[in-house]
């Protein structure tokens, strides 16, 4: 027989002002199974807690109801309190008579009756509470970082430096990501390579980091602490152990192709390293373009390689390993501005993207850093930069702001003048969004010291006539149409999610938003986590971010991983779903609706190992106890511990039959 103790809190005047706490305690004392009821000014204070502990002992209480504030605030406090007095912490039930009652009512009599009802519900449930205990789940203390851009690199270094093993998977032949393509970085004008390449080298030399470039995540199963990941190491056609990175192979390769790293402005070979500072500095053969693979000709690279490292017979390798945590840092791609038929991108060679401009001014770029027009290699004088290409534009691109363009437009306007003192930058903008440390000052510098002309308005048309580009737009501040004779036009094309972000999300069991950016667990308070435990986000795979934000989030993600790894193992929350296997018919509707991929099919077998039937099975490591499966189950075969049907129905009965 349960012996319930009820403890009504005044919360100073927070509750007592609107609720007659004495009357609540008195009414509670007459409720079924209640052995003791009292009230106190601050139940959460030390004397209040001692009151609870003493009562447990004196009155041999087995269930406790605290009628006070929201369980979100003090449930852990009172769970600890009663477990110190020898009760199972899940024998606690809270009646929220503050947020749900005193704070929202004025009529004291009615509020008091409501408080009594809420308490009665809690008592009815408490009688049916079961002792629950947390399960220990093993924890593999190695991390997987997906994506080798600056965010992935930072996360990998932070985790590795704390002493844990990290595998850094990168899809392209080298780590470095977008940042490796940039020339200088706003607002300090640090050379991107100068600050990034040392970090890339650190990754390569750190004994705790294993870089798997030219590799992709193929399959993910398991759960926090125990993710089983299959990684596809694509055939590089080079023996990485033998290659010395001498470069003879690609110097002699006869196949010339547009370089992805140079945004199509430069060339690479069929065997190539994407850029000089690549890590690993080992080439890769593009099998779709290499003559050896296309028509079994050439073979020059193999003949010339002094280390005998070229291996045409290499095959993709699938590696499956267990990881405890995953950091997703897969970055972004740039939106294709050819969508705008009026801006001439893809039609006129001197209409380029911001990223192409970066390559044109980069010392290791296709022109060795000499800023010239792609069409005729002359030095451009008038350059027009156009903001919000595909950003803040429902019609053609995305409604969101890509966040970095205002800053890199200012940077480009400034660098243009540094490259050529006679040049003139024009910037068409919607608003100047320069909210970061030193950002606004940087834009002012571009305008005031470097004479960039900022025009607030959009461009209606770019066209070419007699070798000149004409940019027509409107200056909305002057209220006049403008036409600029330009030598080059640079489009600040939007950042958008990776084309296969949704596929990766499906593999990982995480969600994406309407633009395919990965969704965080909470936009303000849990920006680094996703709803699936053990998976964290870093960088622009979540939404457009600049380098400082990406790096900060990467360190945030790393610290989340380290927080997880700091414990010997994982304790599971006991309030999770459980399946009544006798009743379950195996329709697996619960599996369909589960947002955490926590439910799987399980085949029950008899003693001879013959299958009897299929039932649902809950993975307690993945289950968050949301209850969606419970609502979906047609035969009530799946129940949420701590919120079972009999408990909830008892609460409803207590309310329905109150006077």
């Amino acid at each position: 027989m349960a012996r319930v103790g009820v403890f009504v809190c005044w919360c100073g005047s927070n509750i007592a002002k609107t609720v007659d706490v004495e009357k609540v305690a008195e009414a509670a004392s007459k409720m079924p199974s209640v052995a003791y009821a009292t009230h106190y000014k601050y139940m959460c204070s030390e004397p209040g807690q001692n009151l609870v502990k003493q009562a447990i002992e004196e009155h041999k209480l087995t269930r406790i109801v605290v009628a006070s504030c929201s369980p979100r605030l003090h449930e852990p406090t009172f769970q600890r309190c009663i477990s110190e007095a020898g009760l199972n912490p899940y024998m606690l039930e809270m009646a929220n008579i503050r947020e749900h009652c005193s704070w929202v009512h004025e009529d004291k009599e009615a509020a008091t009756q409501k408080a009594i009802d809420l308490t009665a519900m809690a008592v009815a449930k408490a009688i049916r509470n079961e002792a629950l205990s947390q399960q220990e789940i093993p924890l593999t203390k190695t991390a997987l970082v997906i994506g080798g851009g600056v965010a992935g690199i930072q996360a990998a270094l932070d985790i590795a430096n704390a002493g844990y093993q990290v595998t850094l998977v990168e899809r392209t032949p080298s780590i470095g990501g977008r940042m490796a393509q940039y020339d200088k970085t706003f607002p300090t004008l640090d050379c991107a390579a100068c600050i990034l390449t040392p970090k890339m080298v650190d990754c390569a030399s750190n004994p705790n980091i294993r870089i798997m470039s030219y590799s992709e995540v193929e399959n993910v199963s398991g759960f926090v602490g125990n993710f089983d990941i299959t990684i596809r190491r694509r055939a590089r056609s080079i023996d990485m152990a033998k290659c010395t990175g001498c470069g003879v192979c690609y110097e002699k390769c006869p196949v010339k192709l547009p370089s992805e790293f140079d945004e199509g402005l430069g060339q690479r070979r069929a065997i190539y390293v994407p850029f000089p500072q690549a890590v690993p500095n080992v080439p890769v053969i593009d099998r779709e373009k290499c003559r050896k693979f296309l028509d079994d000709k050439c073979g020059a690279c193999q003949k010339l390689c002094p280390a005998d490292a070229v291996d045409y017979t290499q095959e993709d390798e699938l590696i499956t390993e267990r990881f405890g945590a995953i950091v997703v840092a897969t970055g972004f791609q740039t939106w294709d501005p050819a969508e705008y038929g009026n801006l001439g991108y893809g039609i006129y060679p001197d209409v380029i993207t911001g990223l192409q401009f970066e390559r044109l001014i980069n010392a290791s770029g296709p022109t060795d850093g000499k800023l010239v027009r792609p069409s005729d290699h002359t030095v451009p004088k008038n350059v027009v930069f156009i903001s919000c290409i595909g950003s803040r534009d429902d019609e053609h691109g995305y409604p969101y702001c890509s966040k970095v363009c205002c800053m890199y437009n200012a940077k480009h306007a400034l660098l243009l003048k540094e490259k050529n003192h006679d040049a003139q930058a024009y910037v068409f903008y919607t608003d100047i969004r320069a909210n970061g440390k030193g950002y606004e000052e940087f834009v002012r510098r571009a305008i005031e010291k470097y004479g960039a002309i900022y025009l607030r308005g959009r461009v209606s048309r770019v066209f070419e006539m007699d070798g000149k580009l004409y940019v027509r737009g409107v200056d909305t501040l002057a209220g006049k149409p403008v036409e600029i004779e330009a030598d080059m036009v640079v489009l600040a094309s939007a950042m958008e999610a990776q084309p296969d972000a949704k596929d990766l999300a499906r593999k990982l069991g995480i969600s994406v938003d309407e633009y395919n950016w990965f969704s965080e667990a909470h936009p303000k308070l849990r920006p680094v986590e996703v709803l699936t435990a053990g998976i964290y986000l870093a960088g622009a795979c979540q939404y457009p971010k600049d380098i400082p934000d990406s790096v900060a989030q990467a360190s945030g993600a790393a610290s989340k991983v380290l927080g997880l790894f700091s414990k010997p193992n994982i304790l599971s929350e006991p309030m999770v779903a459980e399946v009544n296997e006798d009743n379950c018919v195996g329709c697996l509707l619960c599996k369909e609706v589960c947002p955490y991929t926590a439910i799987e099919a399980k085949v029950l077998v008899d003693r001879n190992g013959n299958p009897i039937k299929t039932v649902s099975s809950v993975n307690e490591g993945l289950c968050h106890g949301c209850g969606t499966c419970v609502a979906a189950c047609r035969s009530s075969s799946i129940q949420l511990r701590g919120f079972k049907d009999n408990q909830i129905l008892a609460e409803i009965d207590a309310l329905a039959f109150s006077e």
């Binding site: 705008y340 038929g341 009026n342 039609i347 019609e395 048309r461 066209f463 070419e464 006539m465 004409y470």
Partner: protein, 290 residues
């Protein structure tokens, strides 16, 4: 292939050569046109600017009549197309408006009609199908293809070609053996109906278009809109006088040039209705036989 034909007011008056050549070309291509009986004004400009409901009711009545015929609508005029298609789009998105149209204006439309511009229907036949009708290639003809501002806008309603950088008319001209010039003013505004109320604006805008066409190497302009054609053709001498520039650019409807390439008689194409004499340009082009 049969359509309900909506000529609109222009094609029955100032642009009768567009009507004439449309019918001739469609006959040649096997496109049957049945004029909507008792059609009314599409509601362009004044109608929809002054009263939104009337601006929808007018075109919708025409669509309702086409619905009775059981046919999709084709119209050569860009303004008619815009009004018909917009009204259709509005009532398809807004059932309350559709109900109001029946209740208040007695227009009973179910929403089963698809509205098409003549250009999209002809272009939809495909370049090869059109080429098979060509008897006289328009070699040497260098048209600037001028789509105007209305034909392809708003893009999600018009639902045809790229609104900013269209190519259908250029490809169509190519299939006739003409060399469409590359030029940037394909979709600039000609001033349209401001021709009467603010003619000085139209003179400036048409000047810009004519001069860009000339600069781009065109020897004529081809249009798919009676307002564009009217402004560029009728205002041309005025523009020449005001700016002191000689253009001499004939302004054709695309159907007239198709008819010429198909070897249809001039009398069925209405060249004599054009203000800028196309005689010299037409005489210089073409190679017999194909």
């Amino acid at each position: 292939m049969k359509y309900a034909y909506f000529p609109g007011c222009s094609l029955h008056s100032t642009a009768s050569e567009y009507d004439l050549s449309t019918k001739a070309v469609c006959r040649e291509l096997g496109i049957e046109l049945e004029e909507i009986p008792d059609w009314n004004c599409c509601g362009a400009t004044s109608g929809h600017s002054l009263n939104k409901e009337v601006g929808i009711a007018l075109p919708l009545r025409n669509l309702a009549k086409a619905e009775e015929m059981g046919l999709d609508v084709v119209t050569p005029c860009a303004a008619c197309f815009n009004r018909l298609k917009s009204a259709d789009d509005i009532v398809k998105r807004d059932p309350a408006m559709l109900a109001l149209m029946a209740e208040k204006y007695g227009v009973n439309y179910k929403g089963t009609v698809n509205t098409l511009s003549l250009l999209s229907v002809v272009y939809g036949l495909g370049v090869e199908a059109i080429q098979s009708h060509v008897k006289r290639e328009l070699a040497g003809l260098k048209p600037a293809c001028y789509y105007g501002c209305l034909l392809l806008r708003p893009p999600d309603v018009a639902d045809f070609d790229d609104a900013e950088n269209p190519i259908s008319l250029d490809e169509l001209m190519g299939s006739l053996g003409a060399e469409a010039v590359k030029w940037p003013y394909k979709t600039e505004c000609c001033g349209a109906s401001l021709s009467l109320s603010k003619s000085e604006i139209v003179v400036k805008l048409t000047h810009d278009i004519l001069s860009m066409a000339k600069r781009s190497g065109a020897n004529c302009i081809v249009t798919a809109c009676p307002l564009c054609q009217g402004n560029l053709d009728m205002r041309q001498s005025q523009v020449e006088a005001k700016y002191g520039e000689e253009f001499g650019l004939p302004i054709f409807y695309f159907t007239q040039l198709m008819g010429a390439a198909f070897g249809l008689p001039d009398s069925s194409l209405g060249f004599n209705k054009l203000m800028v004499n196309p005689g010299a340009v037409l005489a210089a082009v073409g190679s017999e036989g194909k």
